[in-house]
Symmetry: C2
Subunit: 430 residues, 2 copies
């Protein structure tokens, strides 16, 4: 990995270094848009056509049967089941704390206001196939959806041939999902967003995907006939801050576990010690050799770097500016600096907190804001499967108290009917 | 207003009746897109050019000076100030309850996970000009932003001539905003989303606007170089449920206060009593005559209707399906039915709770999901000006407990480096 010195970089070079590989979104939108329009117009027929063309689906119906779902458990190893159960238990425990409280306040006598949360009724979960089927993502999306109380939870995943991976079906069933579709890509997103004669549209779509899926999610999210989505997304990334006490082998393993995700992943190490920088670089080369996904990791390491900074303080400042999806604080007394972290998706504190623990089993969610969106967005949570409804109950006495303010502001805005809705009530004898 | 009978409508006719006026989003995107690209490429020069062309701005600099801000208070009437203060006090009191709690859980010995909220650092508020300058919207956006702790709060509003409305500046200053720009439209949105040499980009844009502003917000929200937005939006709307005890004059005043918003507003009354339907229709005609914004209201009443249903139960069912931005429950014991309301932006309970009370002064937010988005989205809240960061601190003992699960799931997904990040730590002697 290339090592840079913060003090030797101009501001322009520094900005360029931290700039994420740019996403040619407009080009991808232009590829995906016709597919979405086709599904919107032609429904099931178009969905099946694209499933055959793009997913290499060979079956006749994309809906997974109840028999397939109930038979999925067979041939699943006990070791796998136990791994899933440990993860599911922790994810459930962590996310249960997110159920939001309703509240009610008496603003003044006769004016009571409040807010209550309700689950989103229909949600669609997208689970990518491709180079690595992210079965753990099912847990990360389905568990919060269930805790939120969503009535209908639908899962779509691309299917080569006619059978979805048994483990996908097993986890879906374990999480209480009984509506699963063998379909992926932009056409699956369009099917969920608009509905077809066989598929009732959902209200919100969750889940990661390749650039086509991401583009499709964006496009349906700005179509008033479509639906909202969990968050914008880009390639996965990690930023590690390490001091002289950090173990270079640990750091290298974390950099590589992000680098193996995809060729467009970005991994960054900030350290205040040159020997850490050089040792990590060597360790990366050693550990890389044994990796099955070596070719991918080599590719993504090209956009990655090690930056030597003056202090951990500086490293935190740069990290906040970068807003990494994953931040590993591998330095002494890291916990005490957590308050200084302003922008990050999920934070891993100390040397025994690898990112992969959070990816699977610690309990936190691994569906996180990438590409700098951690400045403005949160990872997937129970609240994202719900929405808040505010309400007010006002008596005649209460309305009288508010009346002067309402009438004055309404008339200032030139909205006479708004003022009138108060006047007509105040005048009323009852 | 036209009266329909639920029992006499076919399913198709019913669906058509409740269908909102469709939004030609693609056409508007194609108009707005070149403006956004121009601002993205040419920065301040393009912003000023469009401000002169579209807003009819005649000044030389769009940034409001500190002098203008501090002088705004002069000439503001005491009556207006007191109206603003009543509203601001209630909005503050209601929104303070929304500050989210952080939490920390010991998942098992050696595995501590948690979540903390941080304010979004840079936020942009858009306040529309046009037929009615919605000064109250400044309170609805700036107060939650301040409570959230956003460091930099920027306000943009279109400016005809060279002076923004004094009341806009007065309220901005009162809310602690000192960065105000005399610019509106798609070009203001682009300026906030991308930044220029004079304007530092924001992380999230809030606020209502006309169809061009809405389209611009959508487009920057799907551009990875842009920024996220508060929520998708469409024209304003109200749905009222009334029984035989409701006062037809009150209902008519509520229907009209929504109808005067814009020609594309939709207002709906559901009632189980024919005499209420007919009396309300008459009252609408009477009250309409005196309204200054009569022409607008007449227009929007065309897409509006009264529907006679069998029961309040049925009305609630239809309302949940429609998911109105504003729902007025003007019937006996309405409060007891609040639990049955699953989809709505804000709810007004009982006959003395007009929508206009919530629009200005009760304390709830008036920036709400329209166009059916209440099925999946919430109105503006303090949480929307913040984001959550999760974190985990794991000890070696804790990691050992998670290790079998992490390693099994990582290898199942084919992500060997993920497994390795745990193995290398467990093996380590320290």
């Amino acid at each position: 990995m290339k090592i840079y010195y913060y003090n030797r970089l101009s501001k322009t070079k520094l900005t360029r270094l931290f700039k994420r590989p740019s996403i040619e979104s407009k080009i991808i939108y232009s590829i995906v848009d016709p597919i979405i329009s086709d599904v919107k117009r032609n429904g099931d027929k178009a969905v099946i056509m694209y499933a055959k063309e793009f997913d290499k689906f060979t079956g006749s119906t994309i809906k997974v049967s109840q028999r397939e779902l109930s038979e999925a458990e067979r041939k699943i190893s006990e070791e796998f089941k136990s791994a899933i159960k440990i993860s599911a238990k922790n994810i459930t425990k962590f996310h249960r704390k997110q159920i939001p409280d309703n509240y009610l306040i008496e603003m003044e006598k006769g004016v009571v206001c409040g807010r209550k949360y309700e689950p989103i009724e229909n949600v669609g979960l997208y689970i990518p196939g491709g180079s690595a089927v992210l079965i753990s993502t099912i847990l990360m999306l389905a568990i919060p959806a269930k805790i939120a109380g969503c009535k209908r939870i639908v899962l779509c995943s691309p299917c080569k041939g006619d059978q979805l991976d048994r483990s996908v079906l097993y986890i879906a069933k374990l999480c209480g999902i009984d509506e699963v579709y063998k379909v992926g890509g932009a056409h699956a997103i369009a099917m969920m967003a608009y509905g077809t004669s066989k598929f009732k549209k959902v209200d919100k779509i969750f889940g990661p995907g390749n650039q086509y899926v991401t583009a499709a999610k964006s496009l349906v999210s700005i179509d008033p006939d479509g639906c909202v989505i969990d968050m914008p997304s880009g390639p996965s990334e990690v930023l590690i801050i390490a001091d002289k006490f950090a173990n270079p082998a640990f750091i290298a393993s974390d950099l590589l576990s992000q680098a193996e995700h995809g060729v467009d992943s970005q991994v960054i190490l900030l350290t205040d010690k040159l020997h850490i920088a050089t040792s990590v670089s060597k360790q990366v080369t050693i550990q890389l050799k044994k990796l099955p996904r070596k070719t991918i990791a080599v590719q993504s390491l090209k956009a990655s770097f090690i930056l030597l900074v003056d202090s951990i303080y500086k490293a935190i400042e740069l990290s906040n500016e970068y807003a990494p999806e994953h931040l590993i604080m591998n330095f002494t007394n890291a916990e005490k600096k957590l308050g200084e972290i302003k922008n990050a998706g999920s934070v891993f504190i100390g040397q025994y907190s690898p990112e992969s623990a959070g990816d699977y089993s610690s309990g936190t969610n691994h569906s996180l804001p990438t590409y700098g969106y951690a400045k403005s967005s949160s990872g997937v949570s129970v609240e994202m499967f719900m929405k808040a409804i505010t309400f007010q109950k006002i008596t005649k006495v209460g309305l009288k108290k508010l009346s002067s303010a309402v009438i004055k502001l309404a008339t200032t805005e030139g909205l006479e009917a708004h003022a009138n809705a108060v006047k007509v009530r105040i005048k009323n004898g009852n």
